[in-house]
Symmetry: C2
Subunit: 686 residues, 2 copies
């Protein structure tokens, strides 16, 4: 299994690729995250954690660690990509610290920045940036989690006093799970239905003071503490409710919609639906940065588990010495595909971050670019946040009991990151959003096409795709797929991987599209209600498949990102990175082999060939696994896991030295087994 | 999707089946677990948790909750099955409480009971039972987790003083992760290599005092606190080390091996290997009871998520009202197969518990029965403990942010149960053990057979199996498999499910066996070292497949247990339980569809038929899902999850009532969307 020549990895080149475009911001943020003042402390009470993290936020301000995204004239740097890159690294200090800073500067502050106008920026942002004004982001309600358009809090305009009245009419409308709401917030950006002149203009954001500087709740404002959570206990999550709370008209964050003194509503976006999605879309940075944070957690998990697995020995091998865990076939199968996946997700994350920066810096800001960005974030964030939980868990188990100790960090990271899969958009809801976009793009190809074209498309023979990288592959030609799939030799080529992954997305989307189209064909013309019900039922029946299609789309994007990255490398490094890309691609094919078999894309023998080649790749990658985690650049200050410090190898050596010494001294007791074997041999001889 | 006739489930009958043979013990234990004095308290510091749980252990003694397994003349009941059944329910009070009681009475006490002899029982067990003598179970070492045979702690006999000297020669030999070691333990059962007269007789257990009644460590004994863990923080896990600590000769727990005053070793079991496994085998109850505890955690998770999912609404449906989560196709796909799996695992657990009771009560105690029991426990414990983590996580995500709140219990249970997958035998190591047993049974069939028979066996045409229920199915005739698999109509029949599941185990095992046999055929005869290396390499290459085969074996046993249980039911209840069994079986076929396709057992269209039938079953099971969790019998005192109390439905009703009232009063503001739609319609008319 061992290759004759162990490849020499250019660790610096790989490390650079992993750091990506905002390398300097990342390294600066890692410097901060390495500082013990920013570290989490296992075992603190909830109260202690909350106090610690609030103090750490103040230190972040001092360090200049959080200002990057704000306008230059307000002390920022207008550096949107670098801001999120730096934010993503903070997870290594403490996820509570990261997310609480995200609440303050990435949600509360960013809402004022992106939904407010100049007067709001000047009035509030300096205090937001300096943490003089800690705030909450009051969007989610108890009754409406993922469905923001349906929030029930109202902001009713009163032209008499030129005020909005913020009101939560029932308990389901209470704002829920808000960081800074239980204790530290002095204001909140509240999302509420804007009602003026008897018309509901949909959800808008309002700046609402909630506490005095001394921490007393203002009249009409109520708060409940969410208490202990499954993780992130350094954040004071809580509920907020408002009983006829009045705020000045100017507190409407009016970038996309405004109310004149007389109560007249105006907006530059006519469609209420598009207006809502435009407003919500400005908050995509949460999803973008969670994707990157999740990848960082995966890197930490694998750095810990692979280093420990390279030292830890268990059960004697044929040479008498205990076998290193990472030499076990099962251990390799558990960890090394996750390593390949982490690389793929990191590279995909870089593309997402670039897309984000291009939109928010204005380099490429259009409706289409924003929509692509949102779809890309909705495709990648679910996959990486789920993968982070799986990777942390596999790493924890691979380290056995040691993995369960808080001092080895795996469980704490997993507890904290658990919520990443349902906040900033529930992962399933996000994937469904991607699926709907895929369906829309698919339908757009056939606006003028007849049924025959649709059928043809369904078997995978359509033209070029649509957008720059969001969804371009859907329509890609895969004319050579049949030939490739028939050849065992080529089933592992990059072209074959690409064609197979692409074909799967395309075929799944077209199958769902056809099923949805057929759903209404028996409904009497003009019966809108029957049609709506039939459509809803058909969609529900296809929901699982559509979400799987969206997942496949995200995986394809990750594979493409990894493949594009290969052009950076040469020599041995290129070879190793290609193994890793192949391991990622073939693991996807193996995971979805049922689909490839049922759809006739791969034969049984090709599927077996994929699995054997994965086994060979794993054997090769094992040889360079330590280099590949070394390239993560996670220093001991960032990892802070006792078992990743070489302590296990020291213990092994100490034990071996003791045994060797005793044997040399003739003091090692013979084992009864050996005694019996000798007696048996003697009896046979005699 | 909704069946015309909603079946009436006999909840009591189902509940009885779930409670099983030791119903009375389980109900009594649930009574205890319902008492607030035994509940966990989220947010307590580690120190507070440890104190609380120690106090709760004392209360368990008062309640008579822990004595069942001990001999009648020492205040027990000789009730081995009932003891574990009751123990399994304690997880609902608090997993820390459960596991700490398991350390005291199921490990420390049980080791004295099963490895010691009458004099030990009389001397220590009364104080163990009363908790006068809290103790640790010192088996695992830092350097040797799963590999107990290799522990490095020594117990060297000194005939001069008639004492053993317990010694940990290096840091890797320190005993690790021991409950009661950091604080509360006053003695420990220490596993050490027994050395006398210059010979190492392998691992034996010794009773070693470690602390004074005042809590001071005894001379030569050292302890380190493991500190905060990823869960179970009510237990004072720690390390123990011994520097030439002397104990009387009588402190050897000498049921299976003894040392005379002059140092002569004796044992009724000649083979040191079999002696070791016999001693370790007495401790199987840990694995048996973790299996049952895991199933209870799954039941709690699903009771919470399914009740909440039946009330929670999100996103408007075609009727204008928000849709109930459990009516979403994806939500059903996420939760309902887990419900079927929980039932299957419960019924399999009952058979495991019965097997355990038969061995330990002496009803059916033979080497063969013990070996079967150990294999069965090693097959089921990994599957159920992993399933518990997956189920808790899916339930947590299905409840969104509410699932992340400690007061809704899902995260806490998951944190605590995390370690269940690697303690009392690492899950992968256990499955490998099962795999080895499957290989041995397989080989035993061919002792006198020639190559042709082996080849014939490999394609699945051998005779009846071997043991009563551990492994009987391996050799079962599946002559009719070909016919079944060719018929779409019958792919969902019980016979087809059984044949397909059985065939998979058998074929996988025979494939691994053939690969292992072929591995040494090119090794020169007599080259033992080369043969050992070739065997080890071949085994390693097959490790992943063997573990998968063991998993398949466990799944088959679960399916069989569920199927046997069906005979208890009739009418609608039988119908529903059969749906559930089919959902379990077909989900297994779907999960392993790649294997069935590659091996030619199922065609692509049959695999698609399996998936569509799963969709239909899920639609039916959804109708009775609340009844099926009701049958778990988990009262509010046992669940203690706010979101499972009906609070969500109340909030929905309050909100709906508010909206209805406002609409009736003509005070509901019109939405801009509706206004625009009306204007558009008017324009079109005009």
């Amino acid at each position: 299994m061992t290759p004759h020549h162990r490849p020499q990895l250019d660790i610096e080149a790989v490390s650079d690729a992993l750091l990506g475009e905002w390398k300097a911001d990342r390294l600066e943020s890692r410097r901060v995250a390495s500082d013990p003042r920013f570290h989490n402390i296992p075992g603190q009470s909830m109260e202690e954690q909350r106090e610690r993290v609030l103090g750490q936020l103040r230190l972040l301000v001092e360090e200049g660690a959080i200002q990057r995204a704000y306008p230059k004239d307000l002390g920022g740097k207008d550096n949107h990509g670098g801001n999120l890159a730096a934010f993503e690294e903070l997870v290594l200090a403490d996820p509570s610290l990261q997310i609480k800073s995200g609440v303050q500067w990435g949600l509360f502050g960013a809402a004022i920045l992106h939904l407010g106008t100049r007067k709001h920026h000047e009035k509030w942002l300096p205090d937001v940036i300096s943490l003089e004004l800690p705030g909450a982001f009051a969007m989610t309600e108890i009754g409406h989690g993922s469905d923001v358009a349906s929030v029930a809090t109202t902001a009713t305009y009163d032209p008499e006093t030129e005020e909005f009245e913020i009101h939560t009419p029932f308990r389901g409308a209470w704002k829920e799970f808000l960081g800074n709401a239980a204790l530290h917030g002095r204001a909140a950006v509240v999302f509420a239905q804007l009602i003026t002149q008897g018309v509901n203009h949909g959800v808008h954001a309002f700046f609402v003071p909630i506490r005095t500087p001394e921490g007393e709740l203002l009249p009409g404002v109520g708060s409940e503490d969410d208490g202990v959570k499954g993780g992130l206990n350094g954040i004071d999550n809580g509920r907020l409710h408002f009983t006829h709370v009045r705020i000045p008209r100017e507190n409407l964050l009016n970038r996309y919609g405004d109310v004149a003194a007389d109560g007249t509503y105006s907006s530059q976006i006519d469609s209420p639906g598009r207006r809502f999605f435009t407003m919500i879309g400005t908050l995509v940075q949460g999803r973008v940065s969670l994707d990157g944070a999740a990848v960082n957690a995966m890197k930490a998990a694998l750095a810990i588990a692979i280093r420990y697995g390279s030292e830890r020995r268990q059960f004697p091998g044929p040479d008498g010495r205990d076998t290193v865990l990472l030499d076990y076939g099962q251990h390799q199968r558990r960890l090394l595909p996750l390593l390949a996946q982490t690389y793929a997700m990191q590279f995909a994350g870089h593309r997402l971050l670039t897309a984000f920066d291009e939109v928010f810096s204005g380099k490429n800001d259009s409706d289409e670019a924003r929509e692509d960005l949102e779809t890309l974030a909705a495709a990648l964030k679910p996959l990486s946040t789920w993968a982070a939980l799986d990777t942390l868990q596999e790493a924890r188990e691979a380290c056995g009991g040691a993995g369960f100790m808080a001092k080895n960090r795996l469980t704490g990271l997993r507890h904290d990151l658990d919520i990443y899969v349902t906040f900033e958009g529930d992962n399933n809801v996000l994937l469904q959003l991607v699926g709907k976009r895929l369906l829309a793009d698919y339908a757009a190809q056939f606006k003028d096409a007849d049924k025959a074209a649709l059928a043809k498309a369904a078997v995978g023979q359509v033209g070029e795709g649509l957008t720059r990288f969001g969804l371009r592959q859907i329509g890609q030609s895969i004319a050579d797929l049949g030939r490739i799939a028939r050849s065992v030799e080529h089933v592992r080529s990059a072209d074959a991987q690409h064609a197979l992954l692409t074909d799967r997305v395309q075929t799944m989307v077209s199958e769902v599209a056809l099923a949805l189209r057929d759903a209404t064909k028996n409904v009497p013309k003009g019966d809108k209600r029957a049609k709506a019900i039939a459509q809803a039922e058909a969609f529900n029946a296809q929901q699982h498949k559509l979400i799987e299609a969206a997942r496949a789309h995200g995986e394809l994007l990750q594979w493409e990102a990894f493949t594009e990255e290969l052009s950076r490398f040469e020599g041995d490094t290129l070879k190793v990175m290609t193994w890793l890309r192949d391991l990622f691609g073939l693991t996807l094919l193996e995971r979805h082999a049922t689909w490839y078999l049922v759809s006739g894309r791969l034969s049984g023998s090709r599927v077996e060939a994929v699995s054997s080649y994965i086994d060979r790749l794993i054997g090769r990658v094992r040889e360079v696994a330590l280099d590949l985690v070394e390239a993560f650049g996670l220093t001991p200050e960032l990892l802070r896991a006792e078992i990743a410090t070489g302590i296990e190898a020291e213990r092994q050596e100490e034990a071996q030295a003791y045994v060797d010494e005793r044997i040399a001294a003739g003091e090692w007791p013979i084992h009864e087994k050996e005694l019996r074997a000798r007696a048996k041999a003697k009896a046979e001889r005699g």
